[in-house]
Symmetry: C2
């Protein structure tokens, strides 16, 4: 598989790095394990002779945008996160040239993949008109407004539409690159993921994302408000359903759809959050905290904390 990665000036560092490291790792692992996978022939190209990343790194380039027929042109994000900076950037001469180059690449039979804010560059080319796409979650409203002819599916992480692929926020670059590897070799994609993807044990970031998703749906938001107000009384699905004004089944479905969790499981997440907060700030023991989050004793709370956070109470205090 032949790929060119288009590095525009001010390219988003993590995005560009993630893409390159996925393919480099894929090639290394394929060679090491003698997998029958054709190598990824990768080159980084730009629109000007010199490209600096958003962090100021100098990127060595292999020439201009000329992806092979049937090959891939990959467009990582620019390092602009807010409309006030993004929109002017889209008017830069090099970016306008890139937009033309994307059209030419398509004309020459290449596939195109763009992630995060890179999807705006692709959309500017008109190539996404009449196609489906996704983009980074916080710019979805701007994207929909600016490119009404694009079928935006902002609920999806990655969308393939004909010869075009789009992916979502920041680390969506990683997912997109893994998707491309998977086209060539699903086994290799699995291996690369094992080496590059953070353990699935809960990192701090996982809870933050659930919080955002929870507020995206009115029923889920109501549930969370009800839950936060009665952690100490313990869980009751009957009460929860009454509080949100829907059946127990519907509440369970909605939480499953939005968060991928059962009502009790999400309630437990909130318990853990509260318990961790109290552990760190109040100086109370797990036995004292347990009744404050609806458990009769500290043993059950400790077991839950270990399961949800992958570490024990003493470690939790140490990390603070």
């Amino acid at each position: 598989m032949k790929l060119q990665v288009l590095a525009l000036d001010g390219v988003f560092d993590t995005g560009l790095s993630a893409i390159l490291d996925v393919f480099t790792t894929a090639n290394e692992l394929a060679a090491m394990l003698s997998l029958n996978a054709p190598p990824f022939e990768l080159s980084v190209v730009g629109m000007r002779k010199k490209v600096l990343t958003a962090q100021g790194f100098s990127v060595p380039l292999s020439g201009g945008v000329r992806p092979a027929e049937g090959g891939w042109l990959v467009v990582p994000a620019l390092g602009y996160k807010v409309p006030d900076l993004l929109l002017p950037a889209l008017e830069r001469p090099d970016v306008r040239d890139a937009i033309v180059a994307l059209r030419q690449a398509r004309g020459g039979g290449a596939n195109i993949a763009a992630a995060c804010i890179g999807t705006f560059v692709l959309a500017e080319s008109g190539l996404l008109d009449g196609q489906k796409a996704t983009t980074t979650w916080w710019l979805a409203p701007l994207f929909r407004q600016r490119y009404p002819a694009v079928g935006l599916e902002d609920g999806s992480m990655l969308v393939k539409s004909g010869p075009l692929v789009t992916a979502g926020a920041a680390l969506g670059h990683l997912d997109m690159a893994l998707w491309l590897v998977r086209q060539a070799s699903p086994e290799l994609a699995g291996l690369v993921a094992r080496y590059l993807i953070v353990d699935s044990r809960p990192a701090q970031s996982a809870y933050v994302i659930s919080d955002h998703l929870a507020h995206a749906d009115p029923l889920v938001e109501k549930f969370e408000r009800w839950a936060r107000g009665r952690l100490s009384e313990g869980f009751s699905l009957d009460h929860a359903a009454d509080a949100v004004g829907a059946s127990k089944r519907t509440l369970a479905r909605r939480l499953g759809q939005v968060l991928g969790k059962t009502p009790l499981s999400y309630f437990q997440d909130l318990r853990v959050e509260r318990a961790v907060h109290l552990l760190k700030t109040s100086g109370k023991t797990p036995d004292e905290i347990a009744p404050l989050v609806g458990y009769a004793d500290g043993v059950t709370l400790r077991a839950l904390l270990r399961q949800k956070l992958g570490r024990g109470v003493r470690e939790l205090r140490m990390v603070e």
Copy 2:
């Protein structure tokens, strides 16, 4: 908070980029939202005048290693994933100099954070002796063998031990950087995570990690073998417990500890995996596939696929 990021020649691109982007994003968001958070004063330093990343990017440096007292020295990974390359790299003159610099930094009252393979550099300095640490999962055996005086907790994503912090594989850099932001401002850390962390909707990579974890525990592995062999008959916890030779409660506990899932939830993951595979390879309809994975009709299967994968059947076919 003052931080210096130590970029050694051949530094792992995604790791370095992720660290820099977390703090840059934190500063931008703090300014934009007028948060009362002191800025992160960040600089990138090296051991030689010129540093190239593993991907060949040129990194602008701000001078030598001289972290402020009470500040942080952050050590991202080197871009070597296998012992054959890593061990010689640890003997490089610039890496030996870095090891000395780490000791001097500690002597000057700085805190040190290292991620992934960066933890080997920190361990070489001797500073981790008698402390607890974590490292990337696939090099944990080598780490334990080479640094027996370090209390390796390879089950944790991030470990703080006194003034030293260590984190795990690849994207552990991101977690470590977010942890540092959180020390200064938990609210800001949450915001940065929202912008930089991939949506919690299931990406392909998430299932691969569960697969790895499942094989790490004999009970879980037995359960998975049993499950894979009877997807079409549907779930039965009684049968599963008999098959693995433990009580239902113990099986549930173990799956919770290792995977963070209930037995049925994991069974459903396997159903989804099989269903997706059949959708892509067999040309059968969801109604035809449903009984093959233990459902009476395609409606239930479609609903599960939408919940677990965040997209419908038609989209699943499109992505292939």
